[in-house]
Amino acid sequence: MANGSDAEYLAYVHGRTTGLRRTAYLLSGDEHHADDLVQETITKLYVRWSRISGVENLDAYVHTMLVRIFLDEKRRGWWKVRLGVPPDRPAPVQAGGDVEERALLRAALSQVPPRQQAVLVLRFLCDQPVADVARVLSCSEGTVKSQTAHGLTALRRILGDRIHSLGGTR
């Protein structure tokens, strides 16, 4: 029963799903979680479609929604300051190989404050310029730069000596 507006929505969403999934996957590190994030994003988009379909930069708007949904899920964890591994439990044993390398890095990244996680992922994995990240996070370019610096510092701290096991990086 698509009217014009629904047809536009369908066309828009079908054309963007791959990109949204990729961003969500890079943010969350988990395929299922990524799909959940995208599902919620396109649901919210539909609720607001009649009001926002004419906005100047819809892609940026939708990516902003996605990042905010991701940050929201992190927020509750932030107040409780959860870590992935309860402190009284030994940290996972490291092993060689790409899978372990990814897991190690992902676990470390998940301990960085959420906003800094988002900045690092958007800048260095999604290759977004500082100005775009600033717009997505509704902050200044200076804040993106400082959050980048703090996020990298935190990530390196958390990795500690294990950073040397990540091939060719410092």
Binding site: Y25, G29, E40, T43, R68, D72, R76, P87, L109, L120
Partner: protein, 408 residues
């Protein structure tokens, strides 16, 4: 594509590069489902119509047998005096502590996955969230009283959550559409709190709500004197650009964090007498912590963890703090990461299983026997007598079970 010109950026990109890539599996995105759900949300915008509030069972929120003082505060045992502060909690006499603890799963109306997200000081009320199977369905929020569901609530907005409930059954939480908005749920009705964009973190028995105003992560700490009042900004010290009030006790002491420009947050207190206090930084082995991350406040007790950073590592030490004495006590080994504190000073922490720490004695709460494999337990509340703890399990299969522990 943009190139990052300086070497620091190149290093960062190289460091993170193992995480690059696309999801390997097929998409499970359900566009038709999103549209159906979107239509339903359009119909049921709860803050304007209120019609989406569904009560599973009629309930009188203020019912029950609790006696309230003028402050609306249930009677609780007095805190135990501390004789010796460091390195572990020492008390005047060895308290009995909890015993004969049992665990049960809170009812979920058939939903397999559900969370407990908060509890009240009496141990009677708990709030949580149910996860319907499949996607594209809203997640009902739930109130339990005495271990039974009394209300299920459907809100519009995204990713709604109830964060706290008081002994009168008044709950607060936040939702997104797309900005974050604070709300209160009471007597079967939900509505937004005044003040616009913001989040509600906690409510005490007097009905005072605390949280933040403004965008997520960049807001300022706030206090609503009642659930119908306009919010008041809590003052930030010089140099702090953001903050959040996370918890409040019955005397009205507010616990939160302040975020100095360009740094991570650290603990801060807005006390009931009108004074403010940056939480001191405890020392371990002669080294002062870089930050203190608070978790909860109750009757003048605060629990949380001290953060110690070096050039390439971060470590934590767990503490209980007393407002009156301005002193920290390091929690004994095995206490886990402190999550909540009871009015009697008992601390519940997260380790392989939840742990109640009384003085130097740790009591591990029982595992939920129906779980297979290794699970974590996330703790969300402890009653004022320290005998009722609520939280949920988190396992590798992404299932969650809402759990209630009772001790004698």
């Amino acid at each position: 594509m943009n190139k990052h010109p300086d070497s620091a950026d190149r290093d960062a990109a190289a460091l993170l590069s193992p995480l690059a890539g696309d999801p390997a599996g097929p998409s499970r995105i359900d566009v038709a489902g999103a549209m159906a759900e979107g239509r339903r949300r359009r119909r049921t915008r709860w803050w304007t119509s209120g019609i989406a509030v569904v009560a599973a069972t009629a309930t009188t929120a203020a019912g029950g047998t609790l006696a309230f003082s003028a402050l609306g505060r249930p009677t609780t045992p007095p805190p135990r005096p501390i004789v010796n502060a460091s390195p572990s909690i020492a008390v005047a006499a060895p308290p009995a502590g909890p015993k004969d603890c049992t665990v049960s799963r809170l009812p979920t109306d058939g939903f397999e996955k559900a969370l407990v997200t908060g509890g009240d000081p009496s141990g009677r009320w708990h709030v949580g969230r149910l996860y319907p199977p499949g996607r594209a369905q809203q997640r009902p929020l739930v109130l339990w009283r005495d271990g039974k569901i009394v209300s299920k609530v459907l809100f519009d907005g995204g990713d709604d959550s109830l964060t706290d409930v008081n002994s009168r059954g008044v709950a607060v939480g936040s939702g997104f559409d797309p900005d974050i908005s604070p709300y209160v749920y009471s007597d079967g009705k939900a509505r937004t709190l005044a003040g616009g964009e913001g989040a509600a973190s906690a409510i005490n028995d007097a009905g005072v709500v605390v949280g933040s105003l403004g965008p997520l992560y960049e807001g300022v700490p706030a206090r609503w004197p009642s659930t119908t009042a306009k919010p008041q900004r809590l003052p930030l010290p010089a140099g702090a650009e953001a903050g959040e009030a996370g918890d409040i006790d019955e005397a009205g002491n507010v616990l939160g964090t302040i975020t100095p420009k360009g740094k991570e947050g650290t603990g801060y207190l807005w006390l009931a007498d009108g004074t403010t206090r940056r939480m001191p930084l405890p020392e371990v082995d002669g080294r002062k912590a870089d930050m203190f991350w608070p978790a909860a406040i109750r009757d003048g007790w605060v629990v949380g963890r001290a953060v110690f950073d070096t050039a390439d590592s971060r470590s934590f030490a767990y503490f209980r703090y007393r407002i009156a004495s301005n002193r920290y006590e390091r929690l004994v080994n095995g206490a886990g990461m402190p999550a909540r504190v009871a009015a009697n000073g008992w601390v519940v922490g997260e380790a392989e299983r939840p742990v109640i720490t009384v003085g130097t004695r740790n009591t591990k709460l029982p595992a939920y026997s129906k779980l297979k494999g290794e699970h974590d337990y996330i703790v969300e509340s402890i009653s004022d007598d320290g005998l009722v703890v609520a939280g949920y399990s988190a396992g590798p299969d992404t299932a969650n079970h809402p759990l209630l522990w009772r001790c004698r």
